[in-house]
Symmetry: D2
Subunit: 423 residues, 4 copies
């Protein structure tokens, strides 16, 4: 297993560096908002994770590891939210860290990689199972940040009137993922009871991760849930679907919205998904801002970058609803849900499974402390690194967030009429 | 049924007026914060509800009802959140309505009562079943506001350095409710696996309202849920329990809190439940502010006025957790849970039951549009009007709210160790 | 002098009570915004001033005065901004003081009045000159609050969609003051170099209070200033003048505004003076909200309730400017400026005169600590109690404030063309 | 004159580029707060000024100038506050402009320089006097931004826990300027009436710019003012002076502060000048953050980076006051005031001189619209480019600002006792 981990370490760590190759130097400090982080910070933070949770404890335990930790201030700069580890640089000010330079951060990455490889080689003594699990956690963590890095960049570039492009690659991934998913979205069929719905009889089901492979603590334990009969749409909701919603006054009708969501619509002036550009009264004539720059909005493509509030309102307008995470998961083997085009909002608040136990120690802060006021998203998205997705994966964001690559899939039942209001 | 409704109408409407008798004139406009409303507004709003949803539609339908609606501006002043009805006075500015005077509002109440009684008498034509249901909804709505009126007053009085008292009655009700509940709380027993826990084997259960009597739309439909084995504490957590939590650094240890809750603790300087008064380092030497004024804190009494974040952190510290609303409800016949001393926070976010349908028309805004970012409380409290409680009742508040009469009851399982950290 | 002071004490203190007679009970706690105070607070604070600065020091010095101070918490509630006296109730929460009741506050007033009269009678020992000066200061202070009470009420009533009326008296005072001032305003003449301008040759002048009578510390010392030749308008700017400004796009043209003022216009959506009610595109068809309720806007009447930013922008549009306070003061003997219809914004920031010394002790906080970021207003207004005005009086408010009874008078020179842009 | 202007153009424009040589790439987007701008933006904005106000009007007028303006969006990005020119990128988001790249901005600078040189050479037709004046204004404007660029960098670097250094040069300039100024500061002497005070008999004086050379519109017209006798300190207040103020509780005594300033002290937790680093209870043991990094605090050196509120409070504590701008200016020929070590806060709000006329056209927005709620600073500072200072120069900032290189010089009189409270 160590050998496999060595190869994987190399692959994952190099991928992060490859991702920033298209950037210009000033992009490394770009932080569009408090919720997002600059590329340099992502590169530093993922390295800090290994130094803090893997290397330093082994050094403290006397390992013969020729590694000298970064100066103390870096620990302050690159901690994200681990209270047990100590104080940290304020999140909204990560974009102010013009220093350390990107060269210094990349050099740090290399030193940490060398030390990790030495660890994995066994030169510094045998590696325990918990240590290997921590390294694996660090790699999974880094893969999450690879996705974050790109979606944060999209947010930052989206605030620049020049509409800069990162490069063509992500849109290529999107097209490929969409093709794998059937090449179409199309709520049109799904609203009308046609072949677009996949039915499930309900009953007692099991969800959650119960096996051996890697999973985050929040995916366990595997447990039973009772489901009523339901159906789930085969396809994601499309841009054309949402354009119809807009044309029907979707963003102007409070009865379609959660009260809290309506306050967002009014307070922020939402008139369309986050990255649509153009006139609100001609929804389909719009452009869409992507990491490849401004592109014509493709009506057939799955809609992306909308909040849970918008997803929920759209579903209500369509005479349907969002699936719960249990419904989603039990259908995951019948649809290519997990290797996904877009994260899919569910109807489920993010809460612990029955019997949930956070991981011990500081990494126990990884997931458990966020289990309030957030909604679960399932699947993965075109920005998710290959191999990182799982059917039991639980992603989560506050319901007003729009900058992640989220879309939606409708569900219905029990006893829902299968029809859209337009029908 | 009409006759019963007539008596009930008289009783409920008179109770609202009786509740404000101890007030001084200036108290009628007291609004301590945006979330609370002044007594005069509660009296006006509950009247507006009947005028808007019962009287006006019947007048519009040609009923021979000698009722002249209040001037149009009053409809603007006393609408709470019904978007379908039209614009409304901003909630944070309800306290600025020194006019209309309380006399004018009380006179309006009487005119509406007369009209409602005429309706119920059949003089203005036969009353339809939906109309009777709307009147019943209006009465249930008014009972909710009777409780709100008192808890909002507590909030407002609590901001006055003179610590004014409303009167002795509510503390009498509290004492009586607590006595009915067994006369003790006592997390002490409950933390140690003794007789303080009531066990349930789990399995497929049914919750929600399925019968004929009045219930809010959010209590239906009755449906199945699967539960793992669990236990629920016989008693509410006490002031002494929370004092032990405080003495053990409960408000200074981030690992016990949701991340969002910890931000509240730090940002608002929380050191104890909302109405404790005194020195944080001597938790049990404190006083408690109540509607009867400042009183010594009774260690045995159930703790009240804490947020979901505090309840959740306390439970984690105690090695337990909050019950889900399904767990709570299936135990309600084995404990006097519903006629309660205090609302009890659950582990459940407020979301629709499978197959939920909001009531049609504007009253459909009553419950459904608040189903995001709130947590369910179950039971009722000493301020709840007699007869208003039900085992299926779903109350809900955002997790940071502390001004309602909320306490907590612990649960454990599946597979939870039954012990407190002190044990 | 003591006898005169006794009569004056009685007159001023009774006038405060007379002013609140038209109020309904709930009005006593009405606080429309943080900058304003409720009527009850004004009555309490002016009483607190006498207790704190007159009675308590004499009691501490052993005076045989049968007065028992109010309970300690009242000192906290009714302190306004005197840091030297101690902590205080937060200003934005004065409206939450439904208790003490207005009856209790009025009873306190009477007890303080009795004690003050005893002091003035000499029964409790001879009264020193500084004591008499403090009592006089307290009376002047109370007269300021009499004006504040009414303008704060206007602010509070102005936020009520019912547009309540205090009563007819203030508008009667306004009409009388305006008649005394010539019965017309009329920027029309003033924009064109006609007889509407009063000229001054400039030169070395003296301003400030140099005599014996009462004056606030900020009016002294009398000192010299050099003035260039200038002219001042005989009349105040009228509603019709501002209507013409509005019709000419005055609130939409940034070039007419201070940068800071333009931010207010955009941020707050200003389209007209504070209390104009109606359609922005028909300035003169509007109504005006007053203490006598909504009334037709009189184009001839002086415009009131606009900010310094609006006054400054109007003057720029009119090809003129605001007078400096020195220019205003040296003209005060040639025009009935001091007994004024409206406070008049000047071009002068509020700063100390050369050689200014604050009064010693806590009352030294009265004026001096506000000498930054405020503009001087001169004259007085129809709400100012008779006898309170002086040509040397310096009123001051931040430039964005609009709730006081402020108007404006134009000036020009040196070398200003006397013409409006319309000419 | 054209030839002189050509040489000057080259010198000034090259100096801007030279100033950014020590920067690392990510520094170009560093914006520490909304009031500051990133280096790249300064380079772009000063170029935009020439394109917008010099090149484009001449192109529009048909000049044979082989210059193609930057794409339209750049005009939006690099406009600072000229409403007449059009909309602009929000100031707080200048740091988000990772694109255009610094290379693209520098290339634009070169193209604009070539075009300007062609203009000045006469190749594109004779240059009018107004055109030459606009170019001179552009150069003066660029010199202002050279200073801003460095003080904004200091602000940004000051927010980085690594305390990065720009380079040694600015501290060299500071030392040189201080040496020229006499090599010492020293409020010690100045508090006691010794030789440290320079007296002026008062009388009718003239201030403002009346000559031919370049000056900003706000320095004119030259006009008379009457001054009472006064004295001005020969030296700037030192770090040791402020340390004594701190040790005497200066930041904890409200009686020393303007009310508005005290709110800043409490709200922001001010305990020392902006860039002091260390323990508040050992003022002189602190370090000072500079563009050369952290350095020991030199007690003898003039204090820098404090707000007007702090300067005003210090002066009050020292038994003195700040000089008015007229007092400062009439002493400028007797002290090396203008070529200054630090900008010096005055007692004067920033208002127009009698007879002030803004420059015509969009550049009229340069100074005039900021004449509210700001205080005048006089002199110049070690970051001011050589040749840019003038005795009539009026700098201005809001009284709470601390990031500019400001210090203070005491004044006294008329009739002030010359003594510090410690004496």
């Amino acid at each position: 297993m160590t050998t496999g981990l060595q190869a994987r370490l190399r692959q994952v760590r190099q991928h992060s560096v490859a991702l920033v190759e298209p950037l210009q130097p000033e992009d490394f400090c770009l932080q569009g908002m408090a919720d997002a982080s600059p590329p340099k910070w992502h590169l530093g933070h993922t390295t800090w994770f290994f130094e803090t949770f893997v290397l330093k404890p082994r050094l403290a335990a006397g390992a013969a590891l020729p590694y000298v930790p970064a100066e103390k201030a870096w620990g302050y700069l690159f901690n994200s939210y681990y209270d047990a580890v100590g104080a940290r640089h304020p999140r909204p000010e990560r974009g102010l860290l013009s220093r350390p330079s990107i060269e210094a951060v990349l050099a740090w990455r290399q030193r940490v990689d060398v030390a990790l490889e030495q660890l994995l080689s066994g030169e510094a003594g045998p590696l325990s199972q918990p240590d290997m699990e921590l390294i694996e956690l660090g790699l999974q963590h880094e893969q999450q940040h690879q996705e974050l890095l790109l979606m944060d960049l999209l947010d930052g570039f989206g605030r620049n009137p020049l509409a800069p492009a990162y490069g063509p690659a992500p849109e290529t991934w999107f097209a490929a993922a969409w093709r794998n998913d059937g090449g179409k979205s199309g709520g049109n069929d799904c609203g009308k009871g046609g072949g677009g719905w996949l039915e499930h009889p309900g009953g007692l089901v099991e969800i959650g991760h119960g096996g051996e492979g890697f999973h985050f603590d929040n995916e366990a334990p595997r447990h039973r849930q009772w489901l009523e009969p339901f159906a789930i749409a085969e396809r994601l909701v499309s841009n054309a679907d949402v354009a119809a919603f807009i044309a029907d006054g979707g963003y102007r009708r409070p009865e379609l919205w959660m009260s809290e969501g309506w306050a967002e619509v009014c307070g922020r002036g939402w008139q369309a998904p986050r990255y649509w550009r153009g006139e609100a009264d001609q929804p389909l004539a719009q452009q869409e801002f992507t990491l490849a720059g401004l592109r014509p909005l493709d009506g057939e493509a799955p809609v992306r970058h909308l909040s849970w509030f918008e997803a929920d309102a759209y579903a209500r307008w369509a005479g349907a609803r969002l699936p719960t995470e249990a419904e989603w998961e039990v259908m995951a083997n019948r649809l290519p849900l997990a290797e996904g085009v877009l994260w899919q909002w569910t109807a489920s608040p993010y809460r612990p499974y029955p019997g949930f136990r956070p991981a011990p120690g500081a990494v126990g802060e990884y997931n458990g402390k966020f289990m309030s006021s957030q909604m679960v998203l399932r699947g993965s998205c075109f920005l998710t690194p290959p191999g990182h997705a799982r059917a039991t994966y639980r992603n989560f964001y506050p319901p007003a967030c729009r900058w992640m690559a989220a879309g939606l899939r409708l569900a219905k039942g029990p006893a829902d009429p299968i029809s859209s209001p337009a029908a």
